[in-house]
């Protein structure tokens, strides 16, 4: 029944990403995809906290399911492609570098936080 936990988590994570993106994108006027950036960094932080800090069923529900579906690589790369094609190459580079650096930083911070809590 492990797959049910993954599906249940993802069925919450994916719409949470959609609604967060709408919420964030309605609140700024730049072409930078802050919505996707936000969900990806938050998802990295939460998955980091969960790593090693929770049991297997919780990890499948909240990690593989929720965080996996909350974060996205496909939208991230498509938005980067659109920025590059629309002449905003600086933003495209900034999106990749910023997402990778902040995502990785959030993952390390999350793991440290998870270890401090357990």
């Amino acid at each position: 029944m492990n797959w049910l936990l993954v599906v249940a988590g993802a069925m919450v994570g994916a719409p949470l990403r959609y609604l967060t993106d709408r919420f964030v994108q309605a609140r700024h006027d730049s072409v930078f995809p802050w919505g996707t950036f936000t969900v990806n960094v938050v998802g990295c932080l939460v998955l980091g906290v969960l790593t090693g800090a929770v049991d297997e069923p919780t990890r499948l529900l909240l990690g593989t399911g929720l965080c996996g579906a909350l974060t996205t690589y496909s939208t991230f790369s498509y938005e980067t492609l659109r920025l590059a094609e629309d002449g905003a190459r600086g933003y495209a580079v900034l999106n990749v570098a910023g997402s990778v650096v902040c995502g990785l930083g959030a993952a390390f911070a999350g793991v440290a936080l998870g270890q401090a809590l357990t």
């Binding site: 069925m11 990403r17 919505g35």
Partner: protein
């Protein structure tokens, strides 16, 4: 406007401020489509992880390939939706935001890199850190370009 969903274009009032968005008008079916698609995409990702498991200190090939394939597919999908003119309004939320968004993952990528570095595999961690976005961007670019050319060829016939 973000490209993750079927959000309406921003409306700007005469004073230059944004008009209040219509409160969740017609958002129910979109949210449900994203949720169902996300569940399916994550299930496919989980199944791929069971078929090709990654040992704790090993290079995460499965996640890398999942993300590359998902990026190629979204390139084809969004070009196709743009070319179709009047696609079903739930096509992009279900297939793009839902299935492919749920299939690909940024959080596992970041925590995989963290795991490699923590296990003393710094070189592999750095390789994963750089190779994933390079491969993902190459995939989405190549797939979107190929799809656009196919549509141009089809129209030229």
């Amino acid at each position: 406007m973000g490209t993750t969903g079927a959000a309406p274009p921003k409306t700007v009032t005469e004073s230059g401020t944004r008009a209040p968005r219509r409160a969740s008008a017609g958002q129910g079916p979109v949210v449900v489509a994203v949720s169902l698609g996300g569940g399916l995409g994550a299930l496919a990702r989980y199944a791929a992880g069971l078929l090709w498991p990654t040992a704790p200190a090993a290079f995460p090939w499965t996640t890398l390939l999942i993300n590359a394939v998902g990026c190629a597919l979204i390139g084809v999908l969004l070009v196709t939706i743009a070319e179709l003119g009047t696609p079903h309004r739930l096509a992009r939320p279900f297939l793009g935001t839902g299935v492919l968004g749920g299939f690909t993952t940024f959080s596992t990528y970041a925590v995989d890199v963290q795991r490699l570095v923590t296990h003393g595999r710094t070189a592999e961690g750095l390789a994963c850190l750089v190779a994933t976005p390079v491969l993902a961007l190459a995939s989405v670019w190549a797939a979107a370009t190929a799809a656009r050319r196919l549509f141009v060829l089809r129209r030229a016939r």
